[in-house]
């Protein structure tokens, strides 16, 4: 206990002992100056990392921009291709074209629709073979003079074809009769199971094209 007190006393007393000799000496220069090089290196490093980063960022953005442009033009090209294909489909499925193809295949219009009831096997309507004279009229009705003339020709051609075909028709009627009851179309299940006859010669101008 006392030793602690002594020590404290000594500590208080010590400055009191020295005031007689104030010692002024030159403070030595601070030797431990912060070394300059690491700092410079650090700053340079930070700067160059920033620069390189910026450069990389810029480059990648730039590359991205080019990529966007390239992909955009690719997409444009594909869009154009898609449009062209869609255009082809819509051109091919136009009634004019389908009718022309049907006539080329020798199909004629069915002017007496008849149906086959699949549940009873009964024929509804008067089943008659198609007449070659009912060849579909392909003249353009737009009203121009050229269209007018074309249409006239078709009527005449159809009439001429009618005479020729009547002879052929006579021969083919035999064959047609055997195929008369081939079902062609029926309505949704549960409803009226009716179906038209499918004939070798006689068919209305167009079977439904799947769209």
């Amino acid at each position: 206990m006392s030793s602690l007190l002594d020590q404290a006393r000594a500590a208080v007393r010590r400055p009191v002992e020295s005031p007689a000799r104030p010692r002024l000496t030159i403070v030595p220069r601070v030797a431990a100056r912060a070394p300059r090089i690491p700092f410079v290196v650090l700053v340079v490093a930070v700067l160059s990392v920033g620069l390189v980063g910026l450069l990389l960022l810029n480059t990648s953005l730039e590359r991205g921009a080019y990529g966007v442009t390239a992909l955009q033009s690719h997409a444009d090209g594909l869009a154009i291709q898609q449009q062209q294909l869609e255009r082809q489909v819509s051109d091919l499925s136009q009634p004019q074209r389908v009718a022309r193809r049907a006539v080329e295949l020798g199909m004629v219009q069915d002017l007496t629709p008849a149906f086959l009831d699949l549940t009873t096997g009964k024929v509804l309507g008067h089943a008659k073979p198609g007449v070659a004279g009912n060849q579909f009229d392909l003249g353009a009705p737009a009203g121009s003079v050229a269209a007018h003339n074309r249409a006239r020709h078709t009527v005449q051609d159809a009439e001429r074809a009618h005479d020729i075909a009547r002879a052929q028709d006579h021969a083919s009627r035999h064959r047609a009769a055997s195929q008369q009851h081939r079902a062609m179309r029926h309505r949704a299940a549960g409803q009226h199971h009716a179906a038209t006859r499918h004939r070798a010669v006689g068919q209305h101008h167009r079977q439904k094209v799947h769209r």
Partner: protein
């Protein structure tokens, strides 16, 4: 000491001169700075707005985001009018001037443009932008540009362009219409629905540097408002068939024009509406502007005897006449001092009401209609849609002419009873027949089945207006009377379809010639529905001013037959298999 003094003196003079210099410099600097300040105030304060916008203009780029015009579809969703991407070939004449002939020759070969026009364009002075070819296929345009580059012919460029296409050509062109060079509709639904179809262009504004978009800079995008497409009730196949058939009928009877309508009885939807002559929307330059509209919708005419079925509907519904009512038909009648005759000379006939319809006797109709009041007949005709616009959505729809009953004299009532002195359009007549077919309920005819948004979602149009005109029992009786028309003794035997019960009525009317405002020539027509005992379709055919021996039965009956047969076959409508008992014609 001396040194000190000298120094002092020197210092004094230096102080004086330096004060002067300082002062002068200050003034100079102050002056210059005030100049700068003034300029600053001018730039930042006074002209700031204009400079800022100039700077903004310099490095911002605005691109129009086009809202392509929406399509018009048929009832199956096949486009009747569509907009496709195309390219426009433009040129800078300052570059192309020197080798215009070489470029023009190439363009003439590849794009089929006129050689001399192109040379003139490529040499056009005082401009740096000319449009050389429009609506060019994009792949073709690219190929042409590549070839020009290969031949070292600079100055040609590709711009975006739109092309309105009508893939079906003249199929439905009377309804679809067409657009002009500026992309706005000029006829048909293209005109009537122009606002709905066209939408509104948007824009994208972004900052650019060196031609590249600045990735993180301000971007303003105003999204384009896409147009809303429309789906018509038209069945392209039936429409084509109807047009072809009408063309043949009009041509072979040397008539002026004609219309045919196929209508769904239950929904009032028009499956085909053919007008002849018509036009090809892909070749407007070669078309006659008189054919741009739809006659079936715009041109009223006196319908003639087809109207008799409406008169008899009114009579039967009022309980005044039945299908077997006996009518004495005199050889001639005089009403208000004017003689009325039948189209066939006869003595006194004893016809039933059915016989009057089957043989289309004017005199029999006039005898019968005397029992009903003018106002009552007028009310029935109004309910059948006469004198009222059908509101199909097309421009220039006619509501026909039906004068109020108060203005009718006796002769008016007599002639209106058989379809003269009253005017309707083909669509009105078809819709009126539709009311009889639809068990007495009138369904407003329609051409638009719905709208199609940019994602392809179809929103059905609102249900058509409906109202009862006659009792269902009346409709059934009238239908049976109309069956007699297509019977072996009727005026419309040509319209009969073997196996089906077909209700029909012929019409041969005196035609009002607009050139002389007098009766000259005829209007022949045929209207009816099938199967008569469970109607699905109404077909109405009218031909204006046929030459030679033409009548409703002979001229339009076969057209009715072909269109009805096609509609029944395509939609799988089987005959009902029941044979309607024949009604007596004479007594």
């Amino acid at each position: 000491m001396t040194r000190t003094r000298r120094v002092r003196r020197g210092r004094r003079t230096r102080t004086r001169s330096s004060g002067f210099r300082l002062w002068t410099s200050f003034l100079v600097v102050a002056f210059v700075v005030s100049l700068f300040a003034a300029r600053l105030v001018q730039l930042q304060g006074l002209d700031a707005g204009s400079y800022a916008s100039m700077a903004l203009k310099e490095d911002t780029n605005t691109v129009v985001l086009e809202a392509p015009r929406a399509s018009i579809y048929d009832r199956a969703g096949t486009p009747l009018a569509e907009t496709v991407d195309a390219s426009m070939m433009t040129a800078d004449p300052t570059y192309t001037r020197t080798h215009a002939t070489q470029i023009a020759r190439l363009l003439h070969h590849r794009l089929h443009v006129d050689y001399f026009d192109t040379v003139a364009l490529l040499r056009k002075p005082n401009t740096r932008y000319v449009r050389v070819a429009r609506h060019v296929d994009p792949t073709l345009a690219k190929a042409v540009l590549a070839e020009l580059e290969r031949r070292k012919l600079p100055g040609m460029y590709i711009d975006k362009d739109n092309l309105r296409r009508y893939p079906a050509g003249d199929v439905g062109s009377n309804l679809v219409g067409f657009v002009g060079a500026d992309g706005n509709g000029l006829a048909g639904f293209e005109y009537a629905l122009n606002r709905q179809l066209s939408g509104r262009d948007g824009s994208a504004t972004f900052q650019v540097a060196g031609g590249q978009q600045l990735p993180l800079a301000d971007n303003t995008v105003v999204k384009p408002r896409l147009g809303t497409g429309v789906r018509l009730t038209i069945d392209s196949d039936l429409q084509y068939l109807a047009q072809q058939r009408m063309a043949r009928a009009v041509q072979s009877s040397h008539a002026t024009s004609g219309s045919a309508i196929v209508m769904d009885v239950q929904t009032g939807q028009i499956l085909a509406l053919a007008d002849y002559p018509s036009f090809d929307p892909n070749d407007i330059a070669g078309a006659n502007p008189r054919n741009f509209g739809s006659r079936a919708v715009q041109n009223p005419y006196e319908p003639g005897s087809v109207e008799k079925v409406l008169t008899f509907s009114a009579l039967i519904d009022s309980g005044l006449v039945g299908p077997r009512t006996k009518i004495v038909v005199p050889p001639q009648l005089v009403v208000d001092g004017k003689p009325i005759r039948d189209y066939f000379p006869h003595g006194t006939l004893h016809l039933t009401a059915t016989g009057v319809i089957a043989l289309s006797s004017n005199l029999g109709t006039v005898q019968a209609v005397r029992q009903i009041s003018k106002q009552r007949l007028y009310d029935y005709l109004r309910k059948f849609g006469f004198g009222q616009r059908p509101n199909l959505g097309l421009d220039g729809e006619s509501k026909g002419i039906l004068h109020p009953a108060s203005q009718w004299s006796d002769i008016n009532e007599a002639t209106i009873a058989y379809g003269q002195g009253v005017s309707v359009t083909a669509v009105q007549m078809a819709a009126a027949l539709g009311a009889i077919a639809n068990h007495g309920v009138y369904v407003a005819p329609s051409l638009i089945s719905g709208t199609v948004d940019s994602t392809g979602t179809v929103t059905p149009a609102s249900a058509p207006e409906e109202h009862r005109v006659i009792k269902a029992s009346t409709a059934r009786k009238v239908a049976r009377m109309m069956e007699a028309v297509t019977g072996p003794n009727g005026t419309g035997a040509e319209a009969a379809i073997p196996g089906y019960n077909v209700a029909g009525k012929t019409g041969t009317a005196n035609r009002v010639d607009p050139l002389c405002s007098c009766y000259r020539g005829y209007t022949v027509s045929f209207g009816g529905f099938a199967p008569a005992d469970d109607p699905r379709f109404v077909v109405y055919v009218v031909i204006q001013n046929p030459q030679g021996a033409a009548g409703g039965g002979a001229t339009t009956g076969p057209v009715f037959h072909d269109l009805m047969a096609a509609a029944l076959a395509k939609y799988g409508v089987a005959p009902t298999g029941k044979r309607s008992p024949e009604l007596p014609i004479e007594w």
